[in-house]
């Protein structure tokens, strides 16, 4: 029983990181209907920022985290303005291909600057795992889950209650009408990218603390899994991304623990296929009627 709970906690840990990244995918999709394939590489940018600020510039962990978030936000805004904004009125496939191009650009840029060999991420704490009645939770796991939950709650509140959040929902509902209602659509879209990238920045910091190796292609796999989490939960829906992330993480961890490590990806993708067959809009998705 304890082993099962420990594995469940491991799953929550991975799942909360997936959820943080998935939020970026889902928010951007919700507002501009673009699958931002470069989002996983923002994770990589964040990781390198953290490594460089800590090891070369000697930043403390909180300061480095702040720098990571800032750098990710700047990259997110620049990418949106330079690569996606000019294509906003062109067919959706153009933006999609541009996103793939940006992803490759970022990866190769990192390859050029930092080299192909992976770099170790510095150890930032020496806190032993917390043990409680045979259960044990490592500090990083606790930190990751707590930070993720807090951020998700904050984001939900922001979108539900704030003025900017209201603007976001309005733009995602109807782009043109929102513009007519006097909402600054460009600012709102930029804000969405910025928030998504900030979450990815925090996610990347937490990810590196748990898996301390930084390489140019490190963003691809977590990016892909987060994207799948977003689709699983219903892309464009914020609670859906969170739920999707946790389902992915727990399914992955329990498959590894009780079925087979080789099968874990197959099981996770299998779940995705079944969900999409039964409920094509994802777990929390609502079928939207085409307005004529």
């Amino acid at each position: 029983m304890n082993l099962f709970l420990n594995q469940l906690i491991n799953g929550l840990h991975v799942g909360s990181i997936y959820a943080l990244i998935a939020l970026g995918y889902t928010m951007v999709y919700g507002i501009v209907k673009l699958i931002n394939f470069a989002h996983g590489d923002i994770l990589m940018i964040g990781a390198y920022t953290a490594v460089v600020t800590i090891t070369s510039l000697g930043f403390s962990a909180p300061l480095a985290m702040l720098a990571t978030v800032l750098c990710c936000v700047v990259f997110g805004i620049v990418i949106e303005r330079v690569a996606y904004k000019p294509l906003r009125s062109s067919p959706r496939i153009s933006s999609l291909i541009t996103a793939i191009g940006v992803s490759m650009l970022l990866q190769n840029l990192a390859l050029l600057i930092f080299g192909a060999q992976s770099r170790p991420f510095p150890t930032l704490h020496r806190i032993p795992p917390i043990r409680f009645q045979g259960l044990q939770v490592s500090f990083i796991t606790l930190l990751t889950i707590a930070v993720s939950l807090a951020l998700m709650a904050g984001l939900t509140l922001f979108v539900k209650a704030g003025k900017a959040g209201k603007a976001m929902r309005a733009v995602s509902e109807d782009y043109n009408t929102a513009q007519l209602m006097g909402i600054n659509v460009n600012t709102t879209i930029t804000l969405t990218f910025a928030i998504g990238c900030a979450l990815a920045g925090i996610g990347s910091f937490l990810y590196c603390m748990a898996y301390p190796a930084v390489s140019p292609t490190m963003g691809s796999l977590p990016g892909l899994k987060a994207f799948i989490s977003a689709v699983l939960g219903g892309i464009g829906i914020i609670p859906g991304a969170i739920l999707g992330g946790f389902v992915m993480g727990i399914a992955e961890s329990l498959t590894k623990a009780y079925i087979s490590t080789q099968m874990s990806d197959a099981v996770v993708y299998g779940i995705l296929i079944i969900v999409l067959l039964v409920k094509p809009t994802g777990l929390l998705g609502r079928a939207s009627r085409e307005k004529v």
């Binding site: 150890t123 795992p129 490592s138 500090f139 748990a210 190796a213 590894k256 623990a257």
Partner: protein
């Protein structure tokens, strides 16, 4: 008429040369040294050559083999298999009685095919080629470096010697290197009575090992074997530390590059790994070898293949001495019966002419420097 005289001249010349060759061979025992000596891999061949030349110098000072001095004729293959074959024929024309080489697996496999097809098969011994096909099915080809999977047996033996009763393994099911080590480890543990309490598999390139480590931790092993390369091992050690799994970890030679992949060097003190040789080895042979090598070349034999090269020359010269002749069949038979203590430990050969020999266990200090632990004998 003119053409005929030319042919006659050539035939006469050939006759003189063919009479001349055996006459020369009686003065010295010639051995061919074939391997890559230039380019990216040149350092390995040069390491082997330095070891071989050192032994030959010593044996000649002690009176040679069968009462004659030994001479090694070196040829560079430039890492090319076809070159290895052509230089073999050239050296054979010069009267060599055996070959030390090749250095890389590719050239050694090609060379082994040619020496095997000679009639009788021509004695060959490699100091560094680690691919199974180099010796597999070839009665005449031997080597003094162990194959990758062999190291796992030494690790199991060491664990047993240290009193470990319960061990765990984490490996990559889809990787030959890892799987081979795993199989040998499990086999040796069963033989020694070390219980495998948990085994988990995680693929190369994976980053999350916590699930597997949690399972392993629950089984309560005293030591964990990790047949991985440095990059994965670094992640595994960090995550094991994170969940509080603080036992001894073991790896094979692939793990040696972990130093560059890990930020927290303290974790390195938990891991030990096997190697072909250590310059800090304590056996009398090894100490003398390191000393003589330093006197000869002015530095430490940092690449282990200098030691295995020295051993290859020693095994071959001892075999020629034991055979009592330079006849190919006699040398091959004597090689097969090898049972000597060399620099890199005690050496005998198994059914596939691979050595059953000692390995050297290393670990790291908290600064990430290599530390020699012990020599593990089979």
């Amino acid at each position: 008429m003119k053409r005929r005289s030319l042919i006659t001249l050539l035939v006469a010349l050939a006759l003189i040369l063919s009479v001349g060759a055996p006459a020369l061979a009686e003065d010295t025992i010639k051995i061919g040294g074939i391997g890559v000596l230039s380019g990216d891999y040149g350092k390995y061949g040069i390491a082997v050559r330095e070891g071989v030349d050192l032994y030959v110098k010593q044996i000649n000072a002690a009176g040679g083999v069968l009462g004659k001095p030994v001479e090694v004729l070196w040829e560079d293959t430039q890492a090319d298999a076809a070159t290895a074959i052509s230089v073999f024929y050239r050296l054979k024309g010069q009267g060599i009685v055996a070959v030390i080489g090749g250095v890389l697996s590719g050239e050694s496999i090609a060379l082994g095919q040619v020496t095997f097809e000679e009639n009788p098969p021509f004695p060959q011994i490699s100091a560094s080629a680690s691919h199974p096909d180099v010796t597999a099915g070839r009665s005449n080809v031997f080597r003094t470096c162990f194959l990758d999977p062999f190291q796992a047996k030494s690790i199991a033996q060491y664990m047993f010697n240290e009193g470990v009763k319960k061990a765990a393994v984490m490996y990559d099911n889809a990787n030959d290197y890892s799987k081979g080590l795993y199989d040998n480890f499990v086999e040796k543990c069963a033989e020694l009575g070390v219980e495998i309490v948990a085994e988990a598999s995680a693929a190369y390139g994976e980053k999350d090992f916590k699930t597997q480590l949690t399972t392993i931790q629950a089984a309560g092993p005293e030591a964990v074997f990790l047949p991985y390369y440095g990059a994965e091992a670094a992640l595994i050690l960090a995550q094991a530390n994170e969940i509080g799994l603080n036992v001894r970890f073991f790896g094979a030679d692939g793990i040696a590059d972990i130093v560059t992949a890990i930020a927290d060097k303290n974790l390195l003190t938990n891991i030990s790994y096997t190697d072909h040789f250590s310059t800090e080895a304590e056996s009398e042979m090894a100490v003398n070898f390191v000393k003589a090598f330093q006197e000869e070349y002015g530095r430490l034999p940092d690449i282990s293949f200098s030691a295995t090269g020295y051993d290859a020359a020693m095994v071959l010269c001892s075999a020629i001495q034991a055979a009592g002749s330079t006849d190919s069949d006699a040398i091959v038979a004597a090689l097969k019966a090898t049972d000597i203590t060399a620099v890199s430990g005690k050496i005998t050969f198994d059914g596939n002419n691979n050595p059953i020999k000692s390995t050297f266990l290393n670990s790291f200090n908290a600064q990430g420097e290599k530390v020699f632990i012990t020599q593990v004998d089979p």
